[in-house]
Amino acid sequence: MTGNAPPAVVAEGLTKRFGAFTAVDGLDLTIATGEVVGFIGPNGAGKSTTIRMLCGLLRPSAGRASVAGFDVGRQPEAVRAHIGYMSQKFSLYGDLTCRENLRFFGGIYRVPRPVMEERIRFAIAMAGLEGREDRLVSTLAGGWKQRLALGCAILHRPPVLFLDEPTSGVEPEARRRFWDLIHTLAAGGVTILVSTHYMDEAEYCNRIALIDAGRLVAMGSPGELRGLDLGGALFELGGVAAGAALAALREMPGVIEAAIFGDRLHVLVRDAATAERMGPFLKRRAVEPGALRPIAPSLEDVFVRLVARRSEEEEGGGA
């Protein structure tokens, strides 16, 4: 992260209301130039709405935001000229070829003519579309489409990129490749805000913004987030009938939270003593206790816990 450069994205109290529903609620966010920030949260958390406001596609109901030094509300056109955007839904022209789409966006972004062909060649090479330049986009598979969309979004060399769930519905191999591209761009100084609901992708980001119900729940590097105090100790319970064990543990005193991860359970307990009582407790409930071992929380554990804690606080505060 470059020391003194002004932040690429700043949001202060950014809020979006649709009628009575508040999609984004007083969001504060600062992204330094050259950072790759992952936007993580459940569906409907407000990720897309936030990105759309930062792109000038939605007008904030309250608060302000600036992107690449331009105010989103007052200078939306200047913002648009300095960003690249990939919407959640694929939105290139399916009835145009790859090259025609690139030409179109190159023209719309007024890419200087002398470098146009070179930029298009670069985008095609980046997307791995050599030999498919003249195929209609509607005939391409998902991964190619996504990489072409990224290619169209960076033709004008924008300093800031907003990618809204760019890898959803894309096969794992293509997702991997896509993230390589993101890091290549970031290495070139591009600031990238990318939303995803794939937990493993969070690990690829410099920092993660966890958002739930329109609010920023936590923000930090993957390491920082994993090190957050969950309010207890985390154990993994293997070799059990997960469903029955889960039902039983949710009633056990001292268990803060239990969740199924594959064929195992992750159990957050208040203290080590609770963990020791777990085996006998399960036996009494006629559940075969499996192997219990302490584990370090994964990002997913952290997210699950933070989101749950927030809604508990909500309910507590509301009552």
Partner: protein
């Protein structure tokens, strides 16, 4: 506005039109089909009215009258009836538009008094056709009467009556043959352009919303004006092609005489095309579904242009409130211009009123349309 972005927009739109041959075919074939349907289907000329004659007398004189009707162009399938019952029958089942009855004492009364009564009944369910048919029948009778009078005078050693008749000599200008197609066809061209033009652009913006491409487009620095012009320019070319086709068909296929200035015709046609495309674009911006926009475009253009443009129903015969509403129907100005340029060879100065009205309309529509499109998902 950036010419570069405008070009990119228009070029993209043209590629999309080209990639969609069905829509292109509709855009080009629809006017041709409509031209044939409306051009041939609508005629105000009434010819070949089916007529029956009940000749009760069957004399040489009455047969001469019957013969006149049979020989006339205006009537066809002239049938001679032989009973009152037959008269009722043909009137009831609509076989004849009218029955002329020549009384049994026709020639006797004619020879003694110099004037013989002939009765005619007409089926006036279609009042307009009946009016015209009565006129035709009176014409046939008048010719026959003149003939009879001549013969009667000669037979009685007198000169035919020459005193006391006004010699009325009508001349009709601009449409010497009184062909109703001369009146109708230029109007048909206007109606077709109004319908097709609004349809063409009504899909442009709604298509981007429906396909999800709009979100990407409005995230770029492209301006609303560039979007509008980029969308309209390709369809302007198609609209002009349609217009040229229809106008050439009017001149060379329907033989409507063209007596005016081609430049004036071209300029006013371009102006009208801008208006109709602008209306379609405006609807497309306001209604985000293709189906909805094209349906509304059809409803908004079909009725006003067919009923209130004056292309078949004369505006000056309408009640005052309807006449006032027709001032809003842009097609009426183009109908007026087309007729005047085609048949009268009118100049731009003669047509200053309708041309200004059309220009005002074009300016207003483009102004509103350019402001209607918001680069926002709100």
């Amino acid at each position: 506005m950036s010419p570069r972005r405008l070009f990119a927009m228009a070029f993209k739109e043209m590629l999309q039109i080209w990639r969609d041959p069905h829509s292109l075919a509709i855009a080009l074939l629809m006017p041709m089909m409509q031209m044939v349907l409306l051009g041939y289907g609508i005629s105000l000329d009434i010819r070949g009215v089916p007529l029956c004659i009940y000749d009760q007398e069957r004399s040489q004189t009455s047969r001469a009258l019957v013969q006149r009707f049979v020989a006339s162009d205006w009537f066809t399938g002239v049938r001679v009836l032989d009973s009152d019952r037959a008269v009722r029958e043909v009137m009831d089942n609509g076989d004849c538009a009218g029955v002329v009855t020549i009384p049994v004492d026709f020639s006797r009364v004619f020879t003694t008094t110099g004037s013989g009564p002939v009765q005619a009944v007409f089926d006036a369910t279609d009042s307009n056709t009946t009016n015209i048919a009565i006129g035709y029948a009176q014409g046939v009778v008048a010719l026959t009467t003149a003939d009879f009078e001549m013969r009667w005078a000669q037979a009685h050693g007198l000169l035919p009556r020459t005193v006391g008749a006004v010699d009325f000599q009508p001349r009709v200008w601009f449409n010497e043959g009184l062909e109703s197609s001369y009146f109708i066809i230029p109007g048909v061209v206007a109606v077709i352009l109004a319908l097709v033009g609004a349809q063409l652009t009504s899909l442009t913006i709604s298509r981007e919303w429906e396909r999800g491409t709009m979100e990407q487009l409005i995230s770029t620095p492209v301006t609303a004006l560039e979007v509008m012009l980029g969308k309209i320019v390709p369809y302007f070319l198609i609209g002009l092609f349609d217009a040229i086709f229809c106008l050439l068909a009017a001149i060379f296929w329907f033989h409507v005489p063209f007596r005016g200035s081609i430049v004036l015709l071209a300029l006013t046609t371009a102006l009208f095309t801008v208006v109709v495309l602008g209306i379609g674009y405006l609807l497309s911006v306001r209604i985000r579904s293709q189906l909805g926009a094209s349906q509304i475009a059809l409803i908004l253009t079909l009725l006003p242009t067919t009923m209130l443009s004056g292309y078949t129903f004369p505006i000056d015969q309408m009640p005052a409130p309807i006449r006032a509403v027709s001032l809003l129907v842009y097609a009426r100005y183009y109908v007026t211009i087309l007729r005047a340029v085609f048949l009268k060879g009118s100049s731009a100065l003669d047509l200053l009123g309708p041309i200004l009205a059309l220009a005002l309309y074009a300016l207003a529509i483009v102004w509103i349309a350019a402001r209607a499109f918001r680069k926002s998902l709100d």
